[in-house]
């Protein structure tokens, strides 16, 4: 967006330096550097297996990195459990398969972490939950169970559930790729709204329309490395690397 200059003046929300990660012998991330400023929206794309999920899952330590540094909101991710829990309660995450808790109602899904992690009284947690359920436009489903909702509704609940912790950063890992086409828009609209309110967002997605609409930067990954990053207009109109061109022709061609 056009206030990109101002964004980089602010304190970084996430700083990733020389990140390396492997599963056994298999190097999944190599030498990844990425700084995300407060309020910035980053879209990460790349072919399957390029390490996108591993990268954003490292940001809240669902994956443990082996080399390099990750600093989130001024706290470095180390083995210190307190630090990890602090970061997790400030970083919301939305998964491809929603991962709602099927044995809890929609409302209970949303109040669980505020009650048990933030130690809020139940009434207050429910108030916050209803606020965010209204925001994602499904307050009337509060007493249902996840299994009774459509995929798009479930994903909006998952977004509301993350927002109830009042996170400073939101991570999205292909939030629409498990959805039927007619439900993608309702989830993307919710995400665009969130972006317009100034949330810091890192979003793995192949929804290029979304990237063009809200991203401040698009990051292209391949083979565990960041190949190219740029503002969306430049990224789509004049990609620098051959691999990016190939990737773009593949996903935009269809």
């Amino acid at each position: 967006m056009n206030d990109g200059e101002k964004l980089s003046d602010r304190a970084p929300a996430i700083r990733i330096e020389n990140l390396g990660k492997s599963f056994g012998d298999f190097q999944v991330l190599r030498n990844v550097n990425l700084t995300v400023c407060q309020g910035e929206k980053i879209v990460v794309c790349g072919p399957s297996g390029s390490g996108k999920s591993t990268l954003i899952r490292s940001i809240n330590r669902l994956e443990q990195h082996q080399s390099g540094r990750i600093v989130v909101e001024g706290t470095e991710l180390t083995n210190d459990l307190k630090g990890i829990e602090k970061i997790r309660s400030e970083v919301g995450m939305v998964f491809q398969h929603f991962n709602l808790f099927p044995h809890l109602t929609i409302l209970e899904n949303c109040t669980l972490a505020p009650i048990w992690v933030r130690k809020l009284p139940r009434e207050e947690a429910e108030e916050i939950a209803m606020h965010f359920l209204r925001k994602v436009r499904i307050p009337e489903q509060a007493d249902k169970y996840p299994g009774q909702l459509s995929g798009g509704q479930q994903q909006r609940v998952a977004i509301a559930r993350a927002l109830c912790m009042k996170p400073r950063i939101m991570l999205f890992d292909e939030p629409t790729s498990a959805l039927d086409p007619e439900m993608i828009k309702e989830v993307l609209d919710t995400m665009i709204e969130l972006a317009n309110e100034g949330m810091t967002m890192v979003c793995v997605t192949h929804e290029m329309g979304f990237a063009q609409a809200v991203a401040d930067r698009v990051v292209f990954m391949d083979g565990g490395q960041i190949i190219e990053e740029n503002e969306p207009v430049a990224f789509f109109s004049s990609p620098r690397s051959e691999r990016t061109k190939l990737f773009l022709s593949q996903i935009l061609g269809h």
């Binding site: 669902l62 997790r88 398969h97 808790f101 992690v117």
Partner: protein, 362 residues
Amino acid sequence: MADTASNTIARAAAPDARSLLRRLAPFFGTPLNAALTLILLWLMVRLGSLLVDWAILNAALFPAEPETCAAATGACWSFVIAKSGQILFGIYPPAERWRAGLVCILIIITLVASARPSAWRPGLAAIWVGMMAIVLWLMGGGFGLVSVPTSSWGGLPVTLILTVFAIGLGFPAAILLALGRRSSLPVVRTLSVLFIETIRGLPLLSLLFVASILLPLFLPESLLPDKFVRALLALTIFAAAYLAEVLRGGLQAIPGGQSEAAEALGLNYWSTQRLIILPQAIRIVIPALTNTIIVMIKNTSLVLVVGLFDLISSGKAALSDPAWPAPSTETFLFIGLIYFALAFSFARFADFLERSGAEKRG
């Protein structure tokens, strides 16, 4: 046509007549089915009437004395009536039997009161601990009650106490073992596997013998727990190992995304297990848990081999009274009925839990 009239009549008849016919069809549809049905019906009537004759019509009831039985050709219920105190409470001092009775009532009330899912609050655990303490005080005495050593305990309270304590203590241990078996810490994992596999590899009888006979050889008198406690310990670790494996099946069925989502929200390991993983895992394995628990209820009767007087041993002891004709069928039917009531009501309860969970998630 000739049968138009009868068709009309059939159609005019109440619809239940037709549905009755449809329901009878499987029994009389073919000549073979009809023959089998008739033969089985005849057998049921014959055996049924024999049973009724024996158990009711020709049975001896009151007065509950040996002579009543001698005069009757049927079941000797007089014995069960006269000896019910001894069968139910064994060698517990007759003057104190009210305490043993109270213990049974207390345990059953607590069980029933905890059955509704709406009662499952943190307070319930406290109620159970309180109940267990009161039960031990009532049975054992002290603090104003005449003290009764565990060697004089017997009958139904022993069966109930062994069952409830073995499962009540074994279940939390099983949860820890099942989680331990899936832990990322190698030491915890190895110890859990070792424990579970060792206990599962041994017959319960040998565990009971180890607890009651071998343990005293290794431990000095002062450190040795009571024989009752040792048997209870054996039952508890046996239950823990089996329940742990049942639970592990449930834990494995929960997709990894569940704990990831919980952890991403900032919940720590224990909160994640308690609030997200275990409630789902336990619900999945309710049928297998029920099975294991019912087996455990009946397994408690094995303590008779190490000299504890559970329901079955006290029944046997009652039968040895020379004044009576020793009607063992009646006595064991009576005891069997108690076991059946325990196991069956537990099975119904588990069924109810399973269905209430399934309904909720639509």
